[in-house]
Symmetry: C2
Subunit: 332 residues, 2 copies
């Protein structure tokens, strides 16, 4: 059954059946707009576009994974303000000849990631287009907390991260090389699992700045450094570097027969673990700055410090490579 | 200067300079998410996609007009719930080779329509793509009013409309025929001006159902009839039919040398005024049902009644033509 067979309204009705209605949803799918309870008196709102061939490839990811990843990257933006996710609105452009099943599976992936974050899908729009395009707006609730922006880091603060770093980038490198493992890294690229609860936790702990790592750690810390007017110095020896990343680098080196790409060389090289950790986005780890007196729960790892100055250093030096994804340059 | 010269962050910075910050904007452009005051404790949220070649043509509309129309159609969805517009989030996909000036003019159109509706642009996302695609989410505030859905129309209610009908469809027919006038209709197609204040007004008056006419009057009343479980009978003699529509029909008939297309023939024909009024969307007029005792302000015109039954009739008969825009069928 193609989308044009089912029609816009038939397809929307089939979504509405499959999507749980959230407790905060006062008016849901099927009217001119959704109405959501925001008892805090504020709403946190973020929007993102994902475009086929640029942000995902349908030969590398199934529809559930594309939907799950689209939801994750938007829900992570709410966590990065210290908010709890409430709902997504989903604009979906698909070729009219696409199967209704493919779209329903994409929506199922969206719904599953929403459930993991405590949110629901409250509305959307459907249109036909030549390529798949997903526009998501995520709405969240601060539950009385002050929002944590990028602008509050102070000299003397510690820098800490929660969640994984470099896994998605390693998975992308493996897929690009035609490899199918290590599987956990490829899965991390297809469907990241941001540490949603770490966002409200950081806000409650009094984080001075908070961001999600979507473009790459060095690039995103650059936004914090700029907005806060500070220097951030990363200590690479404190960054998590799991064995899986070393295995991926070894597998890639073997596959490409390029010994220079093996683990341990230039960290600006995206073929090595530290390069993935420093420049890989899309895991949607959270990075926060805290006063050095703040007792940090175990999911936070201190990886650097904030000083007077401007910009981002790695081990006291300017980072030699490119710092992350470039929106009007990079492409799958 | 192309977008790729300026870069994503340069372009966003240039927008932020040009966009007024709303009073409700607690955190605006440039962080992970916007934070907006919603003192009502609820948020009304709607999302729409506009895709080049499907919803607009760059040879028919300038960037200001494309932006203004994109904003208008989303802000109208808020009015159609009885809400006051607060803010837009704008996802914008554009070819990297496009000029920064073109995009800035589009954003200026968005900002101008927002100002007309009492809203601002509070955030967004930029991506590169082969064609221009605009994903807008509009957020609004009910200010203590109950939302007016499509589901509350009762037998005995009157049906009334506020705003213009058929102007945008007539303008589209003129553009499609290569004509450049009557200018007000072509302008109405390029940049509609929905009657935003009529939405909260209808809610305050106790409207039982409310919708904006985006697909076509008959089609959109079909949504109300279905959601409310009623029959809606339109009285075509009460529908506004301004002289400009008759002039447009005459101009088209002369241009196409098809005398059968002249005013007064089959209302299912989109080349005649009544056809435009009944099936043309995109003016974003509001249609509402009210208890017959409700004293209606002058901007509302009673054009029909609600009865027991199902569906929509025009002058007591089933409408002979197609009732409006079909999302997975129609194309510019």
């Amino acid at each position: 059954v193609s989308i044009s067979d089912l029609g816009e309204f038939g397809l929307i009705a089939s979504f509405a059946e499959r999507l749980p209605r959230g407790e905060a949803t006062l008016v849901g799918i099927g009217d001119d707009a959704a109405v959501l309870a925001m008892p805090d008196g504020r709403v946190v709102a973020s929007t993102d576009l994902l475009i086929e061939g640029r942000h995902f490839r349908r030969d590398w990811s199934g529809p559930e994974e594309i939907g799950g990843k689209a939801a994750a990257q938007n829900l992570a933006d709410l966590a990065a303000m210290g908010a709890d996710p409430t709902a997504l609105l989903v604009g979906l452009a698909v070729p009219a000849a696409e199967s209704a099943d493919w779209v329903q599976r994409l929506v199922a992936g969206l719904a599953r990631e929403c459930a993991a974050a405590g949110a629901t899908v409250a509305g959307g729009d459907l249109a036909s287009a030549d390529a798949v395009m997903i526009a998501i707006t995520a709405l969240g609730n601060l539950a009385g907390r002050a929002p944590v922006t990028r602008a509050g880091a102070h000299p003397g603060d510690v820098l800490a991260v929660a969640g994984v770093l470099g896994h998605s980038a390693a998975g992308l490198a493996l897929l690009s090389a035609g490899l199918d493992g290590p599987a956990p890294l490829i899965e991390a690229h297809r469907w990241p699992h941001p540490p949603y609860q770490a966002g409200p936790e950081a806000a409650t702990l009094g984080a001075t700045a908070l961001i999600d790592v979507s473009d790459g750690l060095v690039a995103d810390l650059g936004h914090v450094a700029r907005a806060s007017g500070v220097l951030i110095d990363l200590d690479s020896s404190r960054l998590p570097s799991p064995q899986a990343l070393a295995e991926a680098a070894a597998a890639l080196a073997a596959a490409t027969a390029a010994p220079g790409a093996a683990a341990g060389s230039d960290p600006g090289d995206v073929g090595v673990p530290l390069g993935w950790v420093l420049t890989g986005g899309e895991d949607h780890a959270l990075a926060a700055t805290f006063s050095p007196q703040t007792p940090l729960p175990p999911r936070w790892t201190v990886v650097g410090e904030v000083r007077e100055g401007r910009g981002v250093l790695v081990d006291g030096r300017v980072f030699p490579g490119r710092s992350g994804w470039v929106s009007f340059g990079d492409k799958y």
